[in-house]
Structures are given as C-alpha cells and as structure tokens.
C-alpha cells in the first residue's frame, strides 16, 4: 500500500515535470494535458528504470491516466 502511494506521488511528479503542468491529478489524461507519444515513451522508460516496473505500453497510450497505470501495476 505504501509502495502504491509512493508510486502515485512519483508518477504525479514525473507527469508534471514532463508536461510542464503545475498540478496533475490521478484522473488527468496524459494527452489532454499536452503530452505526446514521444513523451509517453520517455515516461514509461523512466518508470522502468526507476521502479523496474514493466507496464504494457498500451495502457498508457489507450487509457492515459495515473489511476489506470496504478491499477495495471497492482494487477501485475
């Protein structure tokens, strides 16, 4: 649980850094916030490097919210 909260916090940080948006919520859509496919790829690679987590890229590209990513991670 703690790990999940930590991951959520870090994901929010990463998104806001990559997108240059000060406040990001778990329900925000990555592409609607101005993200593009290249940034999305960078983001998943960062998550892999930092947490060793392999998230199916289709999740971020087709259901692009932090909530969906977290759900995917807990299902793994």
């Amino acid at each position: 649980m703690q790990q999940r909260a930590e991951l959520e916090g870090r994901l929010i940080e990463l998104w806001s850094e990559k997108l240059g948006v000060p406040t990001v919520t778990a329900e925000d859509n990555f592409f609607a916030l101005g993200g593009d496919s290249l940034l999305a790829a960078d983001l998943l690679m960062d998550i892999y490097e930092e947490f060793g987590l392999e998230i199916d890229a289709a999740v971020l590209f087709l259901r692009p919210t932090i909530a969906d990513l977290l759900q995917e991670v807990s299902a793994v």
């Binding site: 593009d36 290249l38 999305a40 790829a41 960078d42 998943l44 690679m45 971020l60």
Partner: protein, 403 residues
C-alpha cells in the same frame, strides 16, 4: 487513385480543386489535375481552412525543395496530416530532422540497411514471397495477397514476429489512410489517426523494451545505441514501419493493374532479364508515397513563385514523376525507359533509407510473380485507397493462372 488521366485536362478548373481532399485520390483523377497544374500553375496555393500550402507539381520544383535543406525544413512535419500542428518528433526522428543533426540518427540506420547487409536477407525474403504467392490460384484479390509483403522483410530486421504482422499492417493503414472507410473507426478520421498512431507507438515501445533487455543486434538495437530519448527510438521505429509497410506493396499492385489494362503482362513476364529496369519504372510510375511536406525557413522562390518564410510546401511526387519535361510520354509504363532519375524515394539527405531493401524485395516479387503466373484477368472493380499520402489500390480482384 486513377493511375492514368482519364478526363479532359483542358476542362479542369484548378480553382475548384482541393488537393487536401482524400476523395480526389479515391474517386477523382489526380493525374489529370497535376497535368493541368504543370501546364498552367505549377506552384499553386492550396487553401485548407484557415491555413494552406504551396502545391508543387514539377520535377524541378520538387527536386529543389527536397535537396535545399537550409531553405525547406522537415522539422515542421513531413506529411499533410501534420499541417498546422507542431511535430513532436522534430530533431529526434530521422524524417523530421534536418542536416547536419540528421546524420547522427541516420548514419547507423543506413549502415544496417546498406545493400550488403540487406542481401543477407534475400533468401528469407524470397521464401516469404514464395509463401505468399505460391498458394494462390484462381480468383483472389491481388492487393490483399501482397499486403503482408513489407512486413515479411522488415519484420526480421526489427525482430517483429510473423504473428504480429497483420496487426502492424492494420495499425499502419489507420495511420496513413485515416479517411478510408475500411480503416476508419466510427469516431472519424482524427480518432482513427490517433488510435492507429498510439497503438503502433505502444507496440513499438514494448518492442524496444524487449530489445533493451535482450539485444538482438538488429535495427532496433542500432537505434537504442544512439544518444536519443526512448521516445526518439520509438519515433524512428515508427518512421521505418510507415515508410516500408505503407508503400511498397502498392508497386506490384498498381503495376499489375496497368499491365492488365494494357495487355502487357505476357510481354513483361517473358522478359525476365529486364526486371531490374522494369522495377525502377514500376516504382516511378506507381509512386506510392504521394507527397512530402516541408516548411520554408526564409523567403524564397520555387519555379518563379514567391514563397514566404513559414509557409508550408507540399511536393506531389506522383506529379513530379510524370513531368513531361523529363519523362516523354509520362503516363506510359515503359520498362525500357532509361537514364532519368525519379523522385519516388525522394532526393537529398532524406532519400529513402530503405530504398536498397525496397528494390531488392520488389525485384524478388516481380520475379516470383512472373515465374508463378502465366496470365491474369481482371475479375471485378478496382478500388483505390482514400488518402492524400498513399497512392495505391486496395482491391484488385483477379483470376490468376499458374504456369
């Protein structure tokens, strides 16, 4: 799109023509339109909503724009569906990067795709092509039959397994022919483009992660070794796939359709020694990559027409490759045409990186097709792709007689 003009060129009112409308290419007569442009208005402004582009129809104009990289940049996107939108891959993807930075990304890929490297795959490609054509006889759709072809040679170079080729082909179709009723999703062209693009990107990102964990020494690993971001790696894979998978199968399909129309199939099939020249002519004549977009970096002129810094410029390759100044009797598919370069693979620093591979694969396809089939008959209506970028036939019903 119709591959030879069938309407009265003199009667065309250019003011009513919209080159950004995919319907022109599905049901219209673009070669007649381009001929009218070359005669009357070779560099013409095409308004599109509140923006627009300069449409270049001549060989000289297109070659100048393709080779003058300082004046015409690729960083604003290179296809019309990027018009008026920022190109996120600029400076990271070879197709959207200008010289001199371009060499950094392109060099290693070019080495992987050099003829010497590619020829190692010739036997595998031939085996795939035999597999594709070998089981065909009687009535079938030739366009459908050859559509897996590009992935048959690109797949092994990128480590994409055969069971995924149909998926890739579908996503590529969504990404380049978003207006086509066979590929479009219910929500419309933009949604089709977005979904095709994102699913393909997701696939390629997973693929590049696999390659990172277990290197295979292929094209994807060559990209991973470059000092570019993860997004850059995927964007380059995307370019390779789109360039190859979308275009190449349209060369044999368009050519066969014309050979059936003119009754020339037996002549071509009987002269196998001429295949290399015939393949080059087939590439010029079909020109599947229909246009390229560039953005002017400064005020300039093309064929005497003033272009302002920031203007979008679109080169219609299908038109340049039928320019009567360089290609006498340009609409005739003539395997003995010699000595004139064409622009189907572009020109300059962005010259198609897969050209050697494409030529090899096409040579094999023509050889195998002529070897297997003594004749074909057209067995239904030809359907053209609805796209401003992809010039080709998506349905060519035939009856083929094996030898």
């Amino acid at each position: 799109m119709n591959l030879v003009p069938s309407t009265d060129v003199a009667a065309i009112d250019l003011a009513r023509i919209d080159l950004s409308d995919p319907a022109l290419f599905a049901d219209g007569d673009p070669h007649a339109v381009w001929q009218a442009m070359r005669q009357r208005d070779p560099v013409r402004w095409q308004a599109v909503d509140s923006t627009g582009f300069w449409a270049v129809s001549t060989f000289d104009g297109a070659e100048r724009v393709l080779t003058d990289h300082a004046t015409f940049s690729s960083t604003g996107g290179v296809v019309l569906n990027m018009l008026g939108r920022p190109e996120p891959a600029q400076g990271q993807q070879f197709s959207a990067t200008d010289p001199p930075e371009l060499a950094r990304i392109r060099g290693p890929l070019q080495r992987e795709l050099a003829m010497r490297a590619v020829q190692q795959h010739a036997a595998v490609v031939r085996e795939h092509v035999r597999g594709l054509l070998g089981s065909l006889s009687g009535s079938f759709d030739f366009a459908t039959a050859v559509s897996p072809l590009p992935m048959a040679f690109l797949g092994p170079l990128m480590g994409i397994p055969a069971q995924d080729w149909p998926l890739i082909a579908r996503l590529v179709a969504m990404s380049v022919a978003e207006h086509d009723p066979d590929t479009a999703v219910e929500e419309g062209p933009q949604a089709t483009l977005d979904r095709g693009h994102r699913e393909l990107f997701a696939y390629l990102l997973n693929l590049s992660l696999e390659h990172r964990k277990r290197p295979r020494g292929d094209l994807v690993n060559a990209l991973l070794a470059l000092p570019i971001s993860a997004g850059g790696v995927v964007a380059n894979c995307y370019s390779l796939i789109l360039g190859a998978a979308a275009a190449i199968a349209h060369v044999p399909t368009g050519t066969l359709a014309e050979l059936l129309r003119t009754g020339q199939y037996p002549t071509w099939a009987a002269r196998r020694a001429h295949i290399p020249g015939a393949v080059e002519e087939a590439i010029r004549w079909t020109s599947p990559a229909g246009h390229f977009l560039r953005t002017a970096t400064r005020d300039t002129f093309i064929d005497g027409t003033a272009i302002a810094a920031g203007d979008a410029v679109v080169l219609w390759i299908g038109s340049s490759n039928r320019d009567e100044r360089y290609f006498p009797d340009p609409h005739r598919l003539n395997p003995f045409r010699r000595g004139q370069r064409h622009l189907a693979f572009g020109a300059g620093a962005h010259y198609c990186i897969g050209a050697a591979l494409a030529r090899l694969a096409l040579r094999i396809v023509f050889e195998e097709m002529f070897q297997r089939f003594s004749s074909f008959e057209l067995a239904g209506d030809i359907v053209h792709v609805r796209s401003t970028w992809l010039a080709g036939i998506k349905s060519l019903p035939v009856v083929g007689r094996p030898r």
